[in-house]
Assembly symmetry: C2
Amino acid sequence: MPSSTKPATRTEIVELADQLIRLKGFNAFSYADIAGIMDVRNAAIHYHFPSKADLGISVIGEELKRVAAGRQDWAHLPGDEQIKRIMQGFFDKSRKGMICLTGSLTPDYETFSPEMQHKLVEMCEAILDWVAYCLEKGREERTLHFHGRARDRALLVLSAMLSSLLLSRVLGNNVFDRMMDQLLKDLGTSPAKWVEKSPDWLL
Amino acid sequence: MPSSTKPATRTEIVELADQLIRLKGFNAFSYADIAGIMDVRNAAIHYHFPSKADLGISVIGEELKRVAAGRQDWAHLPGDEQIKRIMQGFFDKSRKGMICLTGSLTPDYETFSPEMQHKLVEMCEAILDWVAYCLEKGREERTLHFHGRARDRALLVLSAMLSSLLLSRVLGNNVFDRMMDQLLKDLGTSPAKWVEKSPDWLL
DNA sequence: GTCTATACCTTGATAGAC
DNA sequence: GTCTATCAAGGTATAGAC
């Protein structure tokens, strides 16, 4: 199956929804936005995703898959390196004026259906689990240094990554670099160099 | 003018809009929500705020006033104490299931009118200015300890406060306490004790 | 699987009487 | 300053033909 194959409609819808959520937020995009880009009718989208919540849940589901894949593929890497690669993914998003799903969806939490709320909880916990795992791994490898439980530290790291995207869009791109520099220094590791064109990384 | 005086309609509208933004987000609340609570008609709200952007700008304007007032009223306090009082305001919000305006509005930035975008930038910068000022003051007073520029550190502090509200709602209230404990420890100061019923503090 | 067509609701907003 | 009445636009969603 060549990688140039046009993705199945269903897949394309989810990808577009993901982008729109990261640009405008879940409550601000519509089926018409997606239909317009794909040049199909409104109803075609509803065939694949009867309700908007179904679509939202699928978008989150894909993110969960990416997290699982990232954990597997990078399992051999040191903890600090994994953290930096996760950050690189955030860098990519920041240059596209996009924010992460956590930063986009958690503010709207109260407006979601119970099923979607539950899926969002799942996603946040999966990401935190991974970050905590990387931090603990790095601490054992003596390349990362911090006090307290890795799980609590993961909250601060995720928080900084998430906010760096929110604030970059409003205050300018250098916010991302300044925040990540500070964050890595806090963790006692060397600053990272962000690459402009990276193969569209995680999260 | 007794404090029991019913606030002017205009003021009440802005207060309700503020609450709704913190609960559901700017794009998810409607004039009808406010009209319903106040038991007036839709058009009455439009009389005071012709467009929704006008209302949003007023809500942000009030936040700017609160920041200015906070800086003035607490100017005599040590930097670390000011930081803790700002955090107490966030604690209050967290117990009401609310998030801060920065956390609610920045994700929807791209959907706002240019005027509202500009006002939001103004707000973020005012808050960052204040936090940076407190941090620098605390460093000079030798009660706060951190490396790097106060302005960059302020980004991390605001980021943690903002995210603690986003994540508390999704993952449970103890997230707030765990994050603030870590954050204060990072700044080399003693943990704070949050008071359940505080006189509805800032931000 | 996609289309046409449409139902139904909510939204932000306006005009004009009181 | 608030009301009634109304509007156009856009939202989610469904039915049924192809």
